[in-house]
Symmetry: D3
Subunit: 282 residues, 6 copies
């Protein structure tokens, strides 16, 4: 009969799927809250460890919340509940729910954020835009690959829009709607640091999130008038949410393979901060 | 009869309007290209010193291009034309067109970017969010003020949208469409560094540009569930373009007051990098 | 009838007694764990937020533990219970006990660690060895003062030993047992940074804790052969424990003055790390 | 007939015994005072280059004083005799006595401070706690090894006390007097930087010097209640003095092997800064 | 029939002669001004990109000016003509003349500044004083070699004086006029960073430029009274000018070998800053 | 009857003449070698604490050598005699001769290096080029003043040459021999950091030492073709030697005024490193 694992056991399986060694040096991944000897029968996945998500997980009786974003990326010297991070920590400990981060290790790993995006978009021969410092050749930040058949930038952007979870802001595109695109670079989350890598890799279009005016403008100028790569700016949340179902399934299977019975769920809360938009087209 | 000033003369009038001493310490403002003894009979204003804008100015026979954004914010050791910044410098010098930057001095000054935004939105009793280190009390970054009559967030966002030049992405809003707002904070361009100042100043809503996921999400969490200030994220370009007509008029008048006859124009080119969007509402 | 205050109320009284503005810039003082709206009917004082102390406080049903030493002096990116600091945080939150630090503010304040030591030793005309950067002249690190009557170093060391709580290591003395001493400098806790200040202030003897070989040896060499100030090295824990009864009494009175009824206790646990010593004299 | 070497010759033999390349990067080892062409017929060994030791060496007509601790670890811009380091330099030069430092090279080398301590305590299979960056596997900081037979912490501490030169403070112990110990880590001098290495190496007890409250307390907390490694805090001076007779003998033999006749002595001065202690047991 | 190359083609040949990878990490070499698609039929060589040199090149109709010294060694945020560097950039772009720097790559390369000096002085078996970090063994800064026959320092200095272009200051010599010299170290331009390398390489005399009082005085003291290496301080300009004819010839040949017809000239302007001297001998 | 002071007494008089508080923050001035209780009957002044000067002072039985340049500007961790600085320290201590530095305090003080140069050149209304951070308005680095009557650059350079002690290199001049000069800036020793200050102060000519190619060339370019200030580059040693007779006299008088009888001498050794020059004019 299937058994309930303890948190320590779940952590060891998570480490196999998304090894901490793949995280960037500035990142803070791994267990943030919780007792390693507690049983884990329910696991919740989400992008952001924000109050609504923590509320949802605790209300659902989750024993472990796994988020993509770290709660404590920069060190804190207090966790008192008057700060929103301290409130989250109090709520989790009071509810007996652990918190675990799989951030840039979850981006870079095989089957991670970028791999899932590349697969859903149907990219062939995809490879990292920036290889992991220590890891396999297929691990690293961003991906570059080729669509089986070329299309227009407008059609491709519509496809990206259709695939991602709906958020108020949709997707923004820089480039000619009718231009032909086939070679695609992408980076889930904020990817302005890979703009040059996407150009040097010969991408027709680069999909990422959180592009501000200056990096986007300088990339467009460096590409030359009307030049490539075009840019598709998507929701940071949406681009990373895509990974959650795949990650949940992978963890579920790995637990089942070892004879554990754990209920795994993905949060349905949209934590994109924007509630509505007003655009010229409306 | 009206006289044509030389560049040195124009510089001295610009210094009175938007003194270099108001610029932030990390900024690079003032004359970037040009000969100070050349006559200036045509002046062009724009947000970004990008190739299309420079082309427009040179084609129009401008003797001076005044932009909000610096071309060389970080020092360069080459200006060869194979880089896009070098190309801009070659084009300007070959055309005899000077380039002048009024950046954070243009933000902070009385009659600068933030003052113009506050006035157009009808804010009363507006004051800087962050006082200038050396300057008058009414100079500094951002503004906070009060609408003559309260309104809903949805109505107010529609008003902001209607006032700014149209760009593909429109405006994004975080908050309840029906919530009441009256106290308004704003910062033209990228204003994430003033998110805490807007909250501490008791703003109902904060208008700025280039808000990424993490600053926006943390600001919403810090505000508490559904709390204030709400956020309106506008186009970086659009928010700063608003200043150009006022700046052009101010310079035109100051020149005329001194008996100079100069033709002053504002660029009509949209240098927001985004060409189209796809949103759920379309 | 006497009322039970909430934590926010207790914090405001603590701030009056030991203002956070007196803390050194590198320090981390104030509330570390807890919810500000919870009632506080029992307060526990201790030097160190270590497991035995936290156990004692939680078992006693304390609502608030006030310690001299910070739990999180350097920022942490995880509070999971597998680290000893995370274990302490879990235990406190699970027990509903808040944690508050009064460290260098508790050292420097009038009625703080150093004032209490000076008073118990009977120093007259005592003043800080290093004035607080912002504060009253009588606030600051360390104290220097004069004994009503001179004595020998041996007699004085015996008096210090007799006053402090007993710890295994006792007190160590550098200097001639029969030398005359009257002017006394002191610094509760680790005070090697004030060795030069004690010499320059003309002290006959300097009492502090945690003196290592090199600072002690260099101070003795700089004093000249057999010179002053002599050194008395006491237990870090013991020197700071002396403050607890006085601090507890001060807080108790301030609460009572405002009509609050709170039970205040001082931990009896010795958190000096040393269990026994073997010395030539035994 | 045996010959008197010059200082240059002695330096070359010292380099073979305790190579400067084994010193830590922050250290300052080698010749500090002296003329390389002077004959050396008498050599004095000591831990600290303090005034009493220099007096003793000069009075004994030593041509060379070899100390473990550097006189000028941090660079000086004056050697005037009003500073105690300048006084030492004047005294040495006026007496024609050279000064040589063998510090962390003397710690790490085979036959160095840590090796001698390990041997005297009877450790078997001892190895460095932290391997030298460039050197043999048996060179490095600290040592870890196993006692031939286990014993109690109390018995072992008494053995350590009995072996080291007597100093006022004796040895301090953290841990249960009756606990069983067999695996021993040690580091002559101040070894708080190796506390984690001792725990990770599975030591039952760690012997070192200059342990302050916070490192000792944190190490005890990290070890868990009553956990290992226990700590034995000894005199910095005493732990390093142990090396002197062995070092003197090694140099004496190496000189004799090359046909040189030099008189080698070890200082008998106790430079531990503490003169007496008062402990509960007295 | 011979063809006119474009600037891009000339750059690729320059890269073969003096590869950018040989430049020091702090240096700024390569193309500074110009359009890569412009034809180059006249090339001008000079040491310094100063106004007189740029005037000369532009008046001569040069399409490319190659200088040893960088115009923009430290990054600039403005090129306005009111600065002398901005004036140079305006003059060059207005005249259609490109500017290229071959600085420490031109020093280190085979056939570079130091090789040319070594050859003209007749040094045999010459090798770099400091090998290039990445490069061939015969590439690097400075050179050391041997004269076929020894001579006196006075005779040798006179030879150096006779070979270099005449400048007001001539050559300054530290050492005995009648001392014998045969092993010669040299470094074109400011070579005080190689003073120790010249001594360690066993040079009898070291020729370089821009020696100030302290480096020269310390080098003479370190050499011992009257010791070696003696110093010959020459004009920075003159020592580097020597390379120009050889560099011009090498580029001319490389262009001709590829079938290009380009006119290559060397500037005759003396850019040593000194106009006249008054010495005891006059 | 006149008395012999001890070194401590001499130091206190030196402090009145050239206060240590006038030294730059990077400088190392004051007593470097010596015992403060020793009698001082003979004092020697020199520019550089080099071996020949120390030899001369010790041979002359000096009790104190006062030099302008520091022996230990950067901290040393050894003074062994195999280094030339250690040799100097050994020689001084063995001879019982103290060493004292009066460097940038000696430059800035009233009656210091720059004042003496200004006076000898006959400058009127002279003031510092860079005011001392803490000090009187007439204290600081460099001087600027006006000649009673204008002259040609050639005549003025000849006058400077005639006044300074003769050194091999003489003086180098940048500028037109026949140009008129009247306003003179000067800085004894290496003064390239004041080149801009001299220009901004409106100097016709700037006299200093150790000017290298780049600072001199950039200063000439910044001045415009043939522009002012012209440059006169003199011997670093010679420019500072000028101060010695005045300094010796000032100290002599101050000692005599207090009833002390001390013999004060100025070294006649030329410590300019250059022995001979070869110039076009010879």
């Amino acid at each position: 009969m299937a058994e309930t694992p303890d948190l320590e056991t779940v952590l060891s399986i998570v480490e196999e799927l998304w090894p901490a060694s793949l995280a960037e040096s500035w990142d803070a991944v791994g267990l943030v809250v919780g007792r390693r000897d507690r049983p884990v029968s329910t696991i919740h996945f989400a992008v952001d460890p924000v109050s609504a998500v923590v509320e949802e997980a605790c209300d659902a009786g989750a024993d472990l919340l796994i988020t993509h974003h770290p709660l404590l990326l920069r060190g804190v010297t207090t966790v008192e509940a008057g700060t929103f991070k301290g409130e989250v920590i109090h709520r989790l400990i009071e509810s007996g729910c652990a918190l675990l981060t799989a951030h840039t290790n979850g981006d870079s790993a095989v089957g991670g954020v970028n791999d899932v995006l590349a697969e859903i978009l149907g990219l062939e021969d995809s490879a990292p835009l920036q290889a992991a410092e220590s890891g396999l050749p297929e691990e690293g930040l961003g991906r570059i690959g080729t669509l089986p058949a070329g299309t227009t930038l407008g059609e491709f952007a519509a496809k990206v829009f259709g695939i991602l979870p709906a958020v108020a802001g949709g997707v923004r595109v820089a480039g000619d709607r009718d231009a032909f695109v086939q070679r695609v670079a992408l980076c889930g989350g904020a990817g302005d640091s890979l703009l040059a890598a996407a150009r040097e890799a010969g991408a027709d279009v680069y999909i990422t999130a959180d592009l501000r005016h200056h990096p986007a403008s300088e990339a467009r100028e460096a590409a030359g008038v009307g030049g490539r790569p075009f840019l598709i700016d998507v929701s940071h949340f949406a681009s990373e949410w895509m990974w959650l179902p795949a990650a949940a399934q992978a963890l579920d299977r790995a637990l089942a393979d070892r004879g554990y019975d754990v209920s795994v769920a993905v949060s349905g809360i949209n934590t994109d901060p924007w509630d509505f938009v007003i655009t010229p087209g409306r």
